[in-house]
């Protein structure tokens, strides 16, 4: 397939339009985070979110969170119709402030984790997960 200069330009524009699509506004995921933080300032660092770069199926995506010293960690799927995923509250006998689970992602999107640290401060991190759509429904 040959690409002329004009084609390439148009291709770039088309691609740009396409990349915008996945981050269209769906639900107020930031409101979900605000409800968790109470509007407090959210910093960075000390929180690890592990998620696959590419998920073979959005129905079962393994994710892990780890924030030493956290009281609670919330996971939010920014592109889901219901952005709330889970909140892990760590008790006195938690062996670490880490947990893994499997989640549903409605499509390619950013997954956000927010941790409430023991001192009441908040940190946040995020990871983009590409969700592939299979060719075979069978």
């Amino acid at each position: 397939m040959e690409f002329t200069r004009r084609d390439t330009l148009a291709l770039g524009l088309g691609a740009a339009a396409l990349t915008v699509l996945p981050i269209r506004a769906v639900a107020a995921w930031d409101d979900v985070i605000t409800a968790f933080t109470g509007g407090a300032e959210v910093g960075e660092g000390g929180l690890t979110l592990t998620a696959p770069e590419i998920a073979e199926n959005g129905n079962t995506v393994p994710v892990s969170v780890d924030a030493p010293g956290a009281a609670a960690i919330m996971i939010v799927a920014t592109g889901n119709p219901t952005p709330n995923v889970a909140t892990f509250n760590f008790g006195e006998l938690a062996g670490s402030q880490s947990a893994s689970t499997r989640i549903r992602l409605a499509g390619t999107q950013d997954v956000v984790a927010v941790a409430r640290m023991a001192d009441g401060s908040f940190v946040q991190t995020q990871s983009t997960v590409k969700v592939t759509i299979g060719g075979c429904g069978g």
Binding site: A10, L11, L18, E56, N57, P62, C136, G138
Partner: protein
């Protein structure tokens, strides 16, 4: 915008996820379950595949490392929930005879060892090739006085899973000669027969194009050594005939029926293409 540009965008759309997914698949991984059960995921192709493929490859090798890892620990494998349930079923009396599977067969670990590896198999009494699912239903209707299970029902899938687990690690070794040969030949014919509006045969995807992508799906060889399979897509067990039906439907054809003679023949043939690969018990796929 010229048509060529549109098709260029389409080409990019199509190709981008393909490359990404293909890169993710870990083709050199070794499948060891619970750190102790080593499964053969690559084997020299059986003699009858000469000229078609040189090596037979488990579908596990076509999956991403995240999906692969789900099968490497029986606790991480969600399919094991259903094996647990089937273990309960095994010891539960059903039907008018008040018998359970265990009443005749004893411990499943002993009586069902190696069974899955050699099925579908010629049944002398019936005078035809029978699948494990058919044998389960024969027990239910003829010996337990119970209703037959739906051929691809959840209850059937989990009992097949329990039985399959008792052959985990053994090489698939279905007989294709002798009385089974005629059925096998028919299965082979079906494998290469194009169906549906898309005019595609099993071979078009799983022999000619394994390792390539169809949209974002990374095509495997379509081996069934891992069946029943826990699919992330629908979060439950899928049986061989359930999967065949899905594939044939995707060619936009009226499918053969699950449990039909045609699918039994196809199951024997497809199983024979995996002779030499390990029975995986309950696999996990996308």
């Amino acid at each position: 915008m010229k048509i060529k540009t549109l098709s260029a965008i389409a080409a990019m759309l199509v190709s981008t996820p393909f490359v990404a997914v293909a890169d993710e698949a870990d083709k050199d991984a070794n499948l060891v379950v619970n750190g102790e059960v080593e499964l053969v995921t690559r084997a020299p192709a059986p003699a009858h595949l000469e000229g078609a493929v040189d090596e037979v490859i488990s579908g596990w090798l076509f999956r991403t490392s995240e999906t692969q890892s789900l099968q490497m620990d029986d606790f991480d494998n969600p399919g094991m929930i259903f094996v647990d349930q089937a273990m309960d079923d095994w010891g539960t009396a059903v039907g008018s005879e008040g018998k359970s599977c265990a009443d005749c067969h004893g411990a499943v670990e002993d009586s069902m060892e190696g069974v899955r590896a050699v099925y579908p198999k010629w049944n002398e009494t019936a005078g035809e090739v029978r699948t494990v699912a058919q044998m389960i239903n024969e027990c239910r209707t003829d010996r337990m006085g119970a209703d037959a299970l739906g051929y691809t029902s959840a209850a059937m899938a989990r009992m097949e899973a329990l039985i399959s687990m008792q052959s985990r690690g053994m090489p698939v070794n279905v007989a294709i000669d002798g009385p089974a040969q005629e059925t096998w030949e028919w299965g082979k014919e079906l494998y290469y027969t194009r169906t549906g509006q898309l005019q595609m045969s099993c071979a078009n995807c799983h022999e000619d194009n394994y390792g390539n992508n169809i949209r974002a799906d990374h095509l495997s060889q379509g081996q069934i050594n891992g069946f029943p399979v826990y699919r992330l897509k629908n979060a439950k067990l899928t049986t061989p005939h359930g999967r065949f039906k899905g594939c044939v439907r995707d060619t936009r054809a009226e499918t053969y029926g699950t449990g039909s003679d045609a699918f039994v023949a196809l199951e024997l043939y497809v199983a024979s293409r995996g002779n030499g690969l390990s029975v995986e018990g309950v696999s996990v796929r996308n």
